[in-house]
Symmetry: C2
Subunit: 405 residues, 2 copies
């Protein structure tokens, strides 16, 4: 789009003391120069005045746009206490909600953009009760924002893959239609047959050309750990190294650190990413330990103001703070780790090759007032300027781009 | 100050559907009227246009203003891993910090006000290494904001009451100088002699005329529970019902709910409040259970950007969200509970008689755009108007009053 060269002037990449100018060309970073050396004649895309730090756009690696009621009036949570209650409640509420998916979810996508996320992995319910129309609506919504954001979609059998007849076939349709990633959910806890569930998921991924896999795993303790080990087995057997994510993985929070080392090492070897939202009311994977063993860790908002919970704001910088608070991280290095989880960790999990602040990377950027990354995580200022592909798309937490190219 | 009657027009008290007008007179709510009925000739203090909800100002029931580095440049955390390391690290850092307490903490008080808190209980380190000057500085800072906020100060023996000679005497000076509340800290974990520590605290409170007591209790599990039981014993023995707070009380998070009922009932009977910040990395008291047994629960930010941790923003609406997230609360009633903890619960703990939205209450108010209390807790909008004693003192998260009367 942007054919001319533009300059981002006098910003501090990653909060470093030395300011820099960036040249932006063809939606990419063309060069990183000492501050003050970009030609004054170039159009100025943004000027940090030596005060703003420059970050790569954030990565929302686990969200459920299709479930959100963000664009609807407030709706008190009506779900029962168990995961199965929440699934059936959601089906009942969303089946005839009277507001198209796009009206519910588009304002949320714009909120996420305004908070600085430009890379997404959204799960999309693949449920016979919702059918193909639901998937088409989500694909249309993705097209509407394709000029602004990169969005992967996961075919997610929320209601069960085996227990609800017709779901596996609907998953095939979804993958044919353009959803990239094969989802799964609690092979034991929801589908009641862990091995057959995982075999179905891995068989689908292999048959559709080595697709990525992303499995929701809430099953806890020894049960969840057993399933993680089987996911590792099948990742190896199907040659899907580097393409598998386990989301939530609460089970990993139930063991003593040393007891987890061999499993963590295996996850690292197989390139299996762990996604954690670091919720306060479940055991959570020990993210620092996993990272220290080489496991890639990313994060996401999970559901945002949906029938499961009204919580969430789509702000991955706030998520980095919540992660740090969940573990009591207070050192600058730990806060930088939290930032890494919502940026580079997500980019690696999603396989984004041109992510970062180096020449050649996409000009998907975030400018904000903070002395350094640690302060950015702690304070999460709303005074953010978001640049998508060389164009300012949000300022001060307010989305300002067109919602269709 | 405000001798004339002013009107707050067309706001929704506590987010109820029916809008109201309020008359403000002599720094108090004089009347609550149906919307549109306040005389048009009255000066308008604020106009919610039927859209803004009206809340009582928030209560920050546990903060350490004197420790904060809010007004200083970012300082990486340099503390060692244990509580004792953090205490000695703080002494070393703050002893010759080169910036007066007021410069560090005044901007934080203004931040707290801008986020909607107008009632505070701040602990003040009473340590021989800091001496009387530290206490005087904090008293001067309180005087500087006395026209805007109510602030109780706790004489807090951070370094140990028994283990550091001269501390008990310094506590007496502090209480003589105007600190209202007698503090304590981990009678076993820090002071290594739980009964003698508690006897000293209760004896001081009694001798100085039935002062309030506020004890930091991080000691966990059975040890902490033992100390809570002894605090209850002494509260009863000294006739200090309704005047004692236990802060943190992590120990209460270590027991099965039913096992806690008798103790919770006893705390309720004795009017002992529990203060919890709902941290992510410790066991936390089961706040819903405590409230259901009649125990008063309040909350606070604890340390905010200090040598212990850089976390914190002084935003008690954000704290309500963190409390809800810590427990997985998602129902409107649960989110209202979280709000109650940062408002009415704090007011009760601090003994604020004229708190609320009824005629006669102090005109300490918060206006913000949200459909109801649940949404206010979830979304915590920064677009807040804060009214202190009938005067607007902050808008949009920015402090706008004079810092001295």
């Amino acid at each position: 789009m942007s054919q001319t060269t533009q300059a981002i002037r006098n910003v501090r990449p990653l909060g470093r003391a030395e300011a820099a100018d960036l040249l932006i060309e063809d939606e990419r970073i063309a060069a990183v120069l000492p501050a003050g050396t970009a030609a004054p004649t170039l159009p100025t895309l943004a000027d940090g005045q030596g005060r703003l730090m420059l970050l790569p756009a954030l990565v929302e690696a686990h969200v459920h746009f299709d479930k959100s009621l963000w664009g609807a009036p407030w709706r008190p949570n009506s779900a029962g206490p168990t995961r199965n209650h929440r699934i059936s409640n959601e089906q009942a509420v969303l089946k005839d909600f009277g507001m198209p998916l796009a009206e519910r979810a588009a304002p949320l996508i714009e909120q996420c953009i305004a908070r600085g996320s430009l890379y997404f992995r959204s799960h999309v319910d693949v449920q016979t009760v919702f059918g193909l129309a639901h998937i088409e609506e989500m694909l249309a919504l993705r097209r509407r924002y394709a000029h602004l954001v990169d969005m992967q979609l996961v075919a997610f059998p929320q209601g069960g893959l085996l227990t609800v007849p017709g779901t596996a076939e609907l998953m095939e349709h979804a993958l044919d239609m353009g959803l990239e990633v094969v989802g799964g959910i609690d092979p034991a806890g929801i589908d009641r047959d862990p091995i057959r569930h995982l075999e179905t998921v891995f068989e689908l991924a292999t048959r559709f050309g080595q697709r990525g896999i992303d499995i929701h795993l809430h099953d806890g303790g020894e049960l969840g750990r057993f399933e993680i080990e089987r996911i590792a087995d099948m990742t190896e057997a199907h040659g899907l190294q580097g393409r598998v994510m386990i989301s939530h993985a609460y089970a990993l929070g139930a063991f003593a650190p040393a007891d987890l080392h061999p499993l963590a090492d295996r996850l690292a070897r197989l390139g299996i990413s762990i996604m954690s939202c670091a919720p306060g009311h479940f055991t959570v994977p020990p993210l620092a330990l996993l990272r220290s063993r080489g496991v890639n860790v990313c994060s996401g908002s999970d559901g945002i103001r949906d029938t499961w919970s009204p919580m969430g704001n789509g702000d991955m910088l706030d998520r980095a703070r919540l992660i740090a608070m969940r573990f009591g991280w207070s050192k600058d290095e730990q806060l930088a780790d939290a930032f890494d989880i919502v940026s580079q960790g997500g980019a690696q999990a999603l396989g984004i090759a041109d992510y970062g602040l180096a020449p050649g990377c996409a000009a998907n950027l975030l400018l904000l007032p903070a002395q350094n990354i640690a302060e950015a995580v702690v304070s999460g200022p709303l005074a953010r300027t978001v640049i998508s592909r060389g164009r300012v798309v949000a300022r001060g937490g307010v989305f300002s781009a067109d919602s269709a190219a």
